[in-house]
Subunit: 324 residues, 3 copies
């Protein structure tokens, strides 16, 4: 994948996935983000790095929250931001998506932030983008969500920078989670060796060892002496019915509750990509506890998105938009 | 309520309601707004007071028009504006609203403009907001709509500055109107003593004297020698059916028509929060007459909203966003 | 119409239609647009000409793509842009549209970009606009779409500047197309004499000679030795059923296919207002061929819209917004 994501000089050209992204590049993104996350007590800064650039939020799947983080990051960089919600109903097939790409880049778009229900959609856009146009994947199917993964490892690095000696438990529906996939790749690349996936069997990947991780259906074992406990958002519709049993059972067996967290280290840090489902995968007491990093993740997410856009948009060559 | 709205130094911190807002503070808002309302013949000015600040229009109830006034005011102050329409259907309970607040302020929001169907929602957001974050109520249930009230008294002050000797008639569904509630409080605070509520019995409050006003179902008596006649927008669904009778009857008995306005002073000024229902609570001839201030109210509304945001946003302390 | 579109000094005041727009004024718009279309290899420039001005995209009919072109053009001119989608369902009659106009111009709107399903809507807004407020028609019913026509003639001028010796074929549903109407007027005004309309009989105007053009149902005759072949977007619902026959027949008889284009000059240029329907009125091979100007039209459309807004917005007198 790095052939699409990097230019000839090895600089970030698109951001599609954390899979195969070199450690030095991830580190450079995190270091850049440090300069964009405001210090405590200081207001956010507006910087002119993308002044005159047009960032298109092209969402083929609704997500007000994710769209807002990119919109805010782009505006803090002084870009012109265009929000386009492309209703699935108005789409017929993939060719139409490419016509949309060609048309919008002909308008002068510099960066596309793309959320799409299909696995691989972002890579397909990147493969067809004009030379000066960058694609940032904001989530494609159950495939990847790289900016979420980068903000996760950024947040961890600020509190537990020694990845080689870190134990991370990821709890929930890992099999269907683009967040989990992207975060596992980023953690591994930065040197983490002890990553445990925890959830009911239907939520665990078929072959954890292929990912370089372990998996268990026993939360006591999965959280034992863990430094970081990362909960995933549960789609209620996946639980209701006969897949898992009822929500109360799931909450008792796999929820981030004080009872379950007693198995982790006393200073374990709690993470979650948000928005939380109170009483399903987490309790509000845990979500807003002193050991929770959940809101800090949100703050850091703006900085990470600013960093990615700033690093990419310096590459713009502005050649005419025309498919090869 | 002033404990929530004011900071320790007595400055505006949030704007939730005009109830209990000190007269000096109301006057300071109106004076500030004077500097933002362009002179006749001059274009609107763009000022950099909120440059780098993020204003979130967080609307739990759809209102394109109100949202637009805040969006335009914030942009004239050079703020970054994020519009978020939160469909009621996607909400389950109040805790989710607070999760939304905590998340968005973690993104770096400085000001929230909130429209919500529930009475008291804005105060609840203010009670839970982080130290550096301000809440502006853009209408909560039938409770309050303070910026509308401030633009009303601002508009009156420009034409009839002697509130102590002013007669104001408010005509329509006062019982269910957040505009009427907020405007009555603002008028009283500025010294108005003669406020008459006019409407069918079902539209009048149970105890007008508790509000320091009088009430009547007789429009001739209510408008007698009035300086200001303020019509309220009528929800058609409240009239149809057996509550009031039909629309033609309502229009004849309580509409701002030339016949009914003959009871007021010959130089009486006409106001309405908009948008008007032609042929229901007002005729277009009256709405666009020389004595109508309705469009001037709209113009002044931008200035008032700029003033409120400018006065509040200087207070930002930018502490980390985390619930107490 | 020029009495509404031009001010006393003959400058552009509104843009409602290309019908009757003087050739010198069209030429001045095209010349202005040249300065806004970025050179190949150069990034788009941001210019401060509309700084502090408010541009309202007031869309009574949904069109994300057209709205985006105006939004981007206005932002490149540094204007504050407000997008308002006015659902048809919430409208009752034309008076309400004018109330909306009066209200929004009282907020300080400088320019309205209006898309409306009714023929003549833009002219009606212009007739009622306040002295300092400009109306730009972004498509009204099947009547006119002047910025599309201007970008069409701009694109042609860049490649085939000798309008007097130009042969242009317009293929598709001309009778119902506001694009065709506006483009024919612009071409005629700039001196084009050989304009052929091509389509099934139901898609051709009743009296082509009144427009100064010829019409044919035979694509071989219509395209013979043509310099420019302009396809129109086909509404699928107009074809299905008994009007035309099926889509495959239409594609064979009137689609811009390599077979049909063999009748035109070998260096004929292909145009289309977009978005294309692959396999209906055009093939993707033709749409993205070296002779296609379709994506260049999109790029030029931003420059044309910047030019129109820049020329108009210098006229703002900023008198109070009040209907005559």
């Amino acid at each position: 994948m790095h052939d699409i994501q990097l230019d000839a000089a090895g600089r970030l050209r698109h951001l599609i996935t954390t899979e195969g992204l070199p450690a030095e590049l991830i580190t450079r993104i995190l270091d850049t983000a440090e300069s964009f996350v405001p210090e405590i007590g200081a207001p956010a800064k507006k910087v002119p790095l993308l002044r005159g650039r047009a960032v298109f939020n092209l969402f083929f799947e609704n997500s007000t929250r994710t769209r807002t983080t990119f919109e805010l990051a782009a505006k803090r960089l002084s870009a012109d931001v265009i929000n386009m919600d492309v209703a699935t109903s108005s789409r017929t097939k993939g060719e139409d998506d490419l016509d949309t790409l060609f048309t919008l880049q002909a308008m002068g778009a510099d960066v596309f932030v793309i959320r799409h229900p299909d696995n691989g959609a972002a890579a397909r856009f990147a493969a067809n983008a004009a030379p000066g146009v960058a694609i940032i994947n904001a989530g494609d199917g159950s495939n990847a969500h790289p900016t979420q993964a980068l903000l996760d490892v950024f947040t961890i690095r600020r509190h537990r920078p020694d990845f080689a000696n870190l134990s991370v438990a990821i709890v929930g529906d890992i099999a269907h989670s683009r967040v989990a996939h992207s975060t596992i790749h980023a953690l591994k690349t930065l040197g983490a060796t002890d990553i445990r996936l925890v959830g009911p069997a239907a939520f665990l990947p078929a072959d954890p060892s292929a990912l370089g991780v372990t998996a268990t259906t026993d939360i006591a074992a999965g959280l034992a002496d863990c430094d970081i406990v990362m909960g995933l958002r549960i789609q209620r519709e996946r639980i209701a019915g006969d897949v898992i049993g009822d929500i109360a059972d799931y909450h008792r067996d796999f929820g981030l509750t004080e009872a379950n967290l007693a198995h982790a280290r006393p200073d374990a840090l709690i993470m979650h990509p948000g928005p939380i489902n109170r009483g399903v995968e987490i309790t509000p007491e845990v979500a807003y506890s002193r050991q929770s990093l959940i809101l800090e993740q949100v703050t850091n997410g703006i900085g990470i998105r600013m960093a990615v856009m700033a690093m990419i948009a310096g590459h713009r060559g502005a050649e005419p938009a025309r498919p090869a």
